[in-house]
């Protein structure tokens, strides 16, 4: 299969189940909301070592936020509900509450749920006040800028993590240009995020290592500098490979993100240094979700 001269490999992206929640962060200005959201989603590229994966989903108009102020929606993913609750508490407590004028609300209202304001309220040292409006409980925690308002709990969804595709290019500059455009297009897909820096992975990994203490290590089959030394998956003209990884609240959002991303990359074509598209998988042994590239693109 070729799209605009770019070869689409007959393979699949292997994804795995995760637990996720969506939060809405508001503040007096969008700039302040961004500060909180950027801090919350910092060092959250991979569950392997960060504890969670998180990214900004979209900006929200004041009309779409609970308190009518500018807002940002973020999605946080973890491997279990317990791990998610722990990460949400740490990150909202240290990144959102500490941002001046911020407030934090649930972006998912479903069961099961995890504590949000119910845990953070203890910062109020007994001066915190609960307020129930339309069946939803909010905590008002007195802080130096006034009050930090935080919804009691947030819903947890059965999400999908690790949807991905690989871009084979002539040089890193070619790969990066195409992937940046792909990530830009994926950001318009609701319920999906790209958690790695800039949405692009420069050091895709395989499971395991020759070193026993390593859970993951470099994927040598896709390293251009190891061509000729290992059993490489790269053709001679490929000089760089980048990976785009997508996490989403459901399978459909992953499918839509992969389709949008790959189509954007393919628009560059071989003349602009893009030769092929593949996907990372572990032979179907790691995750139950298999996104076959050719099926997605037809």
């Amino acid at each position: 299969m070729n799209i605009n001269g770019v070869y689409i490999e007959d393979t699949f992206a292997e994804a795995f189940p995760m637990k996720a929640t969506r939060l809405i962060i508001t503040a007096m200005t969008l700039k302040s909301a961004y500060r909180a959201a950027n801090s919350l989603t910092g060092f959250a590229s991979s569950v392997i070592a960060c504890g969670c994966e998180a990214d900004i989903e979209c900006d929200l108009d004041p009309a779409d936020t609970p308190d009518g102020r500018p807002g940002i929606a973020v999605i946080i993913f973890a491997m279990s509900v317990k791990q998610l609750a722990d990460q949400v508490l740490r990150r909202v407590g240290q990144s959102v509450m500490t941002t001046a004028t911020s407030a934090c609300f649930a972006g998912l209202r479903c069961e099961p749920s995890i504590k949000l304001g119910s845990s953070i309220r203890f910062f109020g040292d007994g001066y915190q006040i609960a307020k129930r409006i339309d069946g939803i409980r909010y905590w008002r925690i007195p802080v130096m800028h006034g009050e930090f308002v935080c919804e009691e709990k947030t819903g947890v969804a059965n999400a999908v993590g690790g949807g991905n595709f690989l871009v084979f290019a002539k040089t890193t500059r070619h790969a990066l240009t195409a992937c940046e455009q792909a990530v830009k297009a994926i950001r318009r897909v609701p319920r999906a995020v790209t958690c790695f820096p800039g949405g692009i992975v420069g050091s895709g990994s395989k499971v395991g290592s020759k070193y026993k203490f390593m859970k993951a290590s470099t994927n040598e089959a896709y390293c251009p500098t190891l061509k000729g030394r290992v059993r490489s998956s790269l053709t001679p003209e490929v000089g760089s490979v980048l990976e785009v990884v997508v996490d989403a609240l459901d399978q459909e959002a992953i499918r839509e993100s992969l389709r949008t991303g790959i189509e954007t990359v393919c628009k560059f074509g071989p003349k602009k240094g893009i030769y092929g598209i593949s996907a990372g998988n572990y032979g179907g042994k790691l995750g139950p979700y298999h996104f076959h590239l050719r099926e997605i693109l037809t």
């Binding site: 308190d67 009518g68 006040i129 009050e147």
Partner: protein, 274 residues
């Protein structure tokens, strides 16, 4: 099915308890059975058809027409359905109500929404004392639900209130929110003396500074209460009658109190003009 419509034939000389005439009380009853229901009027018993002209069959939607202040206990302990009242309603409208909707197209007497545990009451004109208050001897008043009064309310609005929302578009009497334990009261008109006296928790929002504030409330100064933005936005989205709250800013003078009882309650006097 057409709504069950009860039209009052003549104004009774004495009070009539119509607490039974709710969607719960009339469930699965046919019109002949409904017409034979015994009602107490003073020291006499009357059959319902002697007092009301009965039309319709759907007991989950009840219309009471030509109502007067002698009819008390309208919607008492109801848990579903709707009751609309055309005219004045007597005391104890929606007393111990658990769900459903009551709309009074006129005034309501004392104790409206007393001991309410859920549902929605709307009064187009004025109400008497103890709106959303506690039953005699009870330690808690209204503990859930929403009451909207388009006119004025009497004294002790939300006495011992635990949760829920009371909105008074007009004025409220003295001791508004007395002994409150939680919940939210909004008064857009002038409030009487000593609001929030004895309150432990809860929020009372005033558009105008009350006539007198107790010495056991201390001012925290004029603050931008971001929480008010959330409150006004959510209420204006949920209740059409409260749409005007959307235009009110979050600046308010905050009084914390009652300091004799922990001081976790608050009076918020809005600064922006309506």
């Amino acid at each position: 099915m057409t709504p069950l419509t009860l039209t009052l034939r003549t104004r009774p000389a004495q009070e009539v308890d119509i607490g039974l005439l709710t969607p719960d009380g009339l469930q699965a009853m046919g019109r002949p059975a409904i017409e034979q229901i015994k009602l107490t009027c003073g020291n006499r018993s009357l059959r319902l058809h002697e007092l009301f002209e009965v039309q319709g069959e759907d007991t989950s939607v009840i219309h009471i027409r030509r109502a007067c202040d002698k009819l008390y206990g309208i919607g008492m302990a109801m848990s579903f359905g709707s009751i609309s009242v055309q005219g004045r309603a007597g005391d104890d409208v929606g007393r111990n109500m658990r769900g459903g909707t009551i709309a009074v197209r006129g005034s309501a007497g004392h104790g409206t929404g007393r001991g309410m545990r859920g549902g929605y009451i709307e009064v187009q004109a004025n109400t008497g004392d103890f709106l959303g208050g506690a039953e005699a001897g009870a330690l808690e008043g209204m503990s859930e639900g929403v009451i909207i009064v388009s006119g004025d309310a009497g004294a002790r609005v939300g006495d011992r209130m635990r949760r829920g929302i009371i909105y008074v578009r007009g004025n409220s009497g003295d001791y508004c929110g007395s002994r409150m334990k939680g919940g939210t009261i909004l008064v857009l008109g002038q409030s009487g003396c000593y609001p929030g006296i004895g309150m432990r928790r809860g929020t009372i929002v005033f558009a105008r500074k009350p006539a007198e504030i107790s010495a056991t409330f201390n001012s925290c100064g004029v603050l931008k209460m971001e929480f008010l933005r959330l409150l006004f936005r959510q209420l204006s989205n949920s209740y059409r009658k409260l749409a005007l709250l959307r235009n009110i800013g979050p600046e308010a003078e905050r009084f914390s109190g009652d300091l004799a009882l922990g001081g976790k309650g608050e009076l918020l006097v809005l600064h922006s003009a309506l």
